[in-house]
């Protein structure tokens, strides 16, 4: 499966004029996405949209407007959570009185894929995967299968999640976030928590290698809280890929949370001859953040280098031909992805 176009909206300067040297810092434990002006959507529609839908359209529309894709496949844990809880709040605050349906209709996680279809009049395959920390990975698996079934096709795949007041509160109460942690010192915080983030990354994929940015060569997912299982799966995954220290980098999903470091450290040790790249000081943590990592991998093979703030160790590859990614969400949902330069 080859990536032909990729667009990323994030808390950093990743869309429009891309500048990965200028790093935006977190505020109160959150990294909030910078939204580009949304073209091609009536202002009245934009006003009613949640940030998740706006980001999804902002990253997705430029891809599908010029390409009639054979399907739209979105991974999102929550979709428009803000609308969802706005409606829920109305239910309680007005004691199940007469409510307006606007927030209810916008609240469904499939609103992003639905709006992309609606605006571009795309009646093809349309799916929304909501499997939290592996929602985007399942969108990738879905597209990979679709391309096996239909070799001539091309698909839009993406990962989108927003920080809403409400999912932030729930995850904060559950102990996943700490407002005192700063993105600049994310990896040194040594606290059992991290910072929140959000974003949208969209990809045009097909089976054609010509003029592609990168190839998604392999993907593997596993659910476990057992470090041994993660190590075994990663070793097996590594044995199936051609990883060469001279041209491969390792992108780690390390997010500073002291409870998760052992997973990242163990995987890093298995590839200790590779440069280790980290990115969550730019994105914060969110369920579909691996879509940012895939965008970054594509950027790295396209540009052959990354600014030094990404690197954890002193190892550098002569060139970036291949990228190995590992991420885990809340210590129970793990993914390994292998991305290469198209041949």
């Amino acid at each position: 499966m080859y990536i032909h176009q990729h667009i990323c909206i994030s808390p950093q300067h990743t869309s429009g004029n891309i500048d990965l040297d200028a790093v935006e810092a977190s505020k109160e434990g959150k990294l909030v996405a910078l939204e580009p002006k949304l073209e091609g959507v009536p202002p009245g529609m934009i006003r009613r949209m949640s940030k998740a839908v706006r980001m999804g359209l902002g990253a997705g529309l430029p891809v599908v407007t010029n390409n009639e894709v054979d399907g739209i496949i979105i991974g999102t844990a929550n979709g428009g959570m803000e609308d969802c809880i706005k409606f829920l709040n109305q239910i309680i605050d007005y004691d199940e009185g007469l409510l307006t349906p606007g927030n209810f209709v916008q609240s469904t996680p499939n609103a992003i894929a639905g709006q992309l279809s609606l605006i571009t009049k795309n009646k093809n395959y349309n799916a929304t995967h909501v499997h939290l920390g592996l929602a985007f990975e399942n969108a990738l698996i879905d597209a990979k299968m679709l391309l096996e079934e239909n070799a001539e096709a091309k698909y839009l795949i993406g990962g989108v999640d927003e920080i809403s007041t409400y999912n932030y509160n729930i995850d904060y109460l559950a102990g996943w976030y700490n407002k005192t942690i700063e993105s600049k010192k994310l990896y040194e915080a040594a606290l059992p928590a991290t910072i929140a983030g959000e974003g949208a990354a969209m990809f045009l994929v097909s089976k054609r290698p010509e003029n592609a940015i990168a190839k998604i060569a392999a993907i593997e997912t596993v659910h476990t809280t057992d470090l041994g299982v993660v190590q075994k799966r990663f070793e097996k995954f590594l044995s199936q890929q051609k990883v060469d220290p001279s041209d491969t980098i390792f992108i780690s999903g390390e997010n500073g949370d002291s409870r998760l470091n052992h997973f990242y450290n163990a995987c890093e040790e298995l590839v200790d001859d590779l440069p280790t790249v980290r990115y969550k000081h730019l994105t914060g943590e969110y369920p579909t953040v691996s879509s940012f990592a895939v965008w970054l991998a594509g950027y790295a093979v396209e540009h052959q280098s990354l600014p030094s703030h990404f690197y954890k160790n002193d190892i550098r590859s002569r060139q970036v031909e291949k990228v190995l990614l590992y991420n885990n969400y809340h210590g129970s949902q793990h993914s390994f992805i292998f991305i290469t330069k198209p041949k």
Binding site: I72, L88, I91, T100, T108, K121, H131, N167, I170, D171
Partner: protein
């Protein structure tokens, strides 16, 4: 290409807590729509619901689940899941294999706990509730995964009311693509203030038992359910009961409006057409359709238009939502299980409460239990966001 077959089924709805109990109710025309007893809402005594006949503590006791944070959705899902894996004789070891996938679906997830979620999401107390990890759409899938340590691909769909049709479709495709050897696929939703108030605000809840495809239909009744099917390759299913084949599937988007279907019904038409194409069948091969049939003004008319567009001679059709209510994220799987029962027992279950056909389309659903030669059954599921899916199931 080897066939993907169904080797296990499990279901819990308002008309029964097992496959056998559901079939008995369907054969006798016994609807589960009535007064809710366990669901607490301002609308409890006002609107009819299709409620599962157990309280949440009773379900927990029945399933021997004592951990904190387990929601009604989790428990209902586990009930159907256990029946399905037992039916297909999947051992604990097999479930832990990297070749065993679990694909769930839900629209409400843990939001059945509307009041607890209100408190947690608005941070009204100093501490959170025991349900902080239980709200996401995929919480019930994670709950099942953790119960059995399922080792393969695990996923959850939310394409609104077509969610679990997509989970079965994805499951069948995982097997065909060699990414899993066996898949447990289905979905779950339970009654929630969130959906009751949501559908009520859209003014599509009926104050009487729903009248599918009837000229005087007044809207839908909400229900709760879970259903799972076990899918395997035919050659791996030797010695097992094979209920049916997953013959084809189609997915489309209507691309018209977030909460209603286009007058031409392109989305429903296209998903049915694609399901037939994937199955390698002609419209004339379909013997029976379990329609989406929600009894809303919009759905029943547009679905009728879509069926008439595709089928020169319309096969017999009905909708089982007159028994189970609309079970949202579970509906596709519930109705797939009923389609499997249609084929396995060569019988058709009638729609209830039908009197007069819709003026514009004049379609009349099956109204009596009948035995019938059935080779292929189609099951439709359409949802908000324009998401449409159709499954074609075949006799073995």
């Amino acid at each position: 290409m080897s066939r993907v077959v169904v080797t296990g089924i499990g279901i819990i709805t308002a008309i029964g807590d097992s496959v056998a109990h559901n079939r008995k109710s369907l054969m006798q025309g016994l609807s589960g729509i009535g007064h809710a007893v366990h669901f607490q809402s301002k609308y409890t005594g006002v609107l009819p619901f299709a409620e599962i006949k157990y309280s949440t503590p009773h379900l927990a006791e029945k399933l021997q689940i004592h951990q904190s944070g387990a929601t009604r959705t989790d428990l209902v899902a586990l009930h159907a899941f256990r029946e399905a894996i037992k039916d297909a004789n999947l051992s604990g070891e097999i479930l832990m294999s990297a070749n065993t996938a679990l694909i769930g679906a839900s629209t409400v997830g843990g939001m059945c706990l509307t009041d607890e979620m209100y408190a947690d999401a608005n941070h009204t107390g100093d501490q959170g509730s025991e349900y902080l990890g239980s709200y996401p759409n995929n919480a019930c899938t994670m709950f099942l995964q953790a119960q059995y340590n399922i080792g393969g691909i695990v996923n959850t769909f939310n394409t609104a009311c077509s969610s679990s049709a997509n989970s079965i479709m994805y499951g069948a495709r995982l097997i065909k693509n060699g990414l899993a050897k066996r898949v447990i696929a289905g979905g779950v939703d339970t009654l929630a203030k969130f959906t009751v108030n949501g559908f009520n605000s859209l003014m599509i809840l009926s104050n009487e038992p729903c009248r599918l495809f009837d000229a005087a239909r007044k809207g839908l009744n909400l229900g709760e359910a879970a259903a799972f099917v076990v899918l395997e390759k035919e050659e791996d299913a030797t010695g097992k009961t094979i209920y049916a084949e997953v013959k084809g599937y189609g997915n489309s988007n209507d691309a018209y409006h977030p909460s209603s279907t286009s007058p031409e019904a392109d989305g429903p038409f296209l998903c049915m057409q694609r399901a037939l194409k994937a199955a390698g069948l002609n419209p004339g091969d379909i013997d029976f359709i379990n329609a989406h049939g929600t009894a809303t003004e919009n759905n029943d008319e547009t679905e009728s238009i879509a069926m008439k567009r595709l089928f020169e001679t319309l096969p017999k059709f009905a909708s089982t939502k007159s028994y189970t209510g609309h079970t949202l994220g579970a509906a596709g799987a519930v109705e797939a299980v009923y389609g499997i029962l249609n084929l396995h027992h060569q019988e058709v279950y009638p729609s209830l409460n039908f009197k007069d056909a819709i003026e514009a389309t004049k379609l009349i659903p099956v109204q009596e239990y009948t035995t019938k030669n059935l080779n292929y059954v189609m099951s439709n599921s359409f949802g908000f966001g324009g998401n449409c899916s159709s499954l074609v199931l075949g006799k073995i």
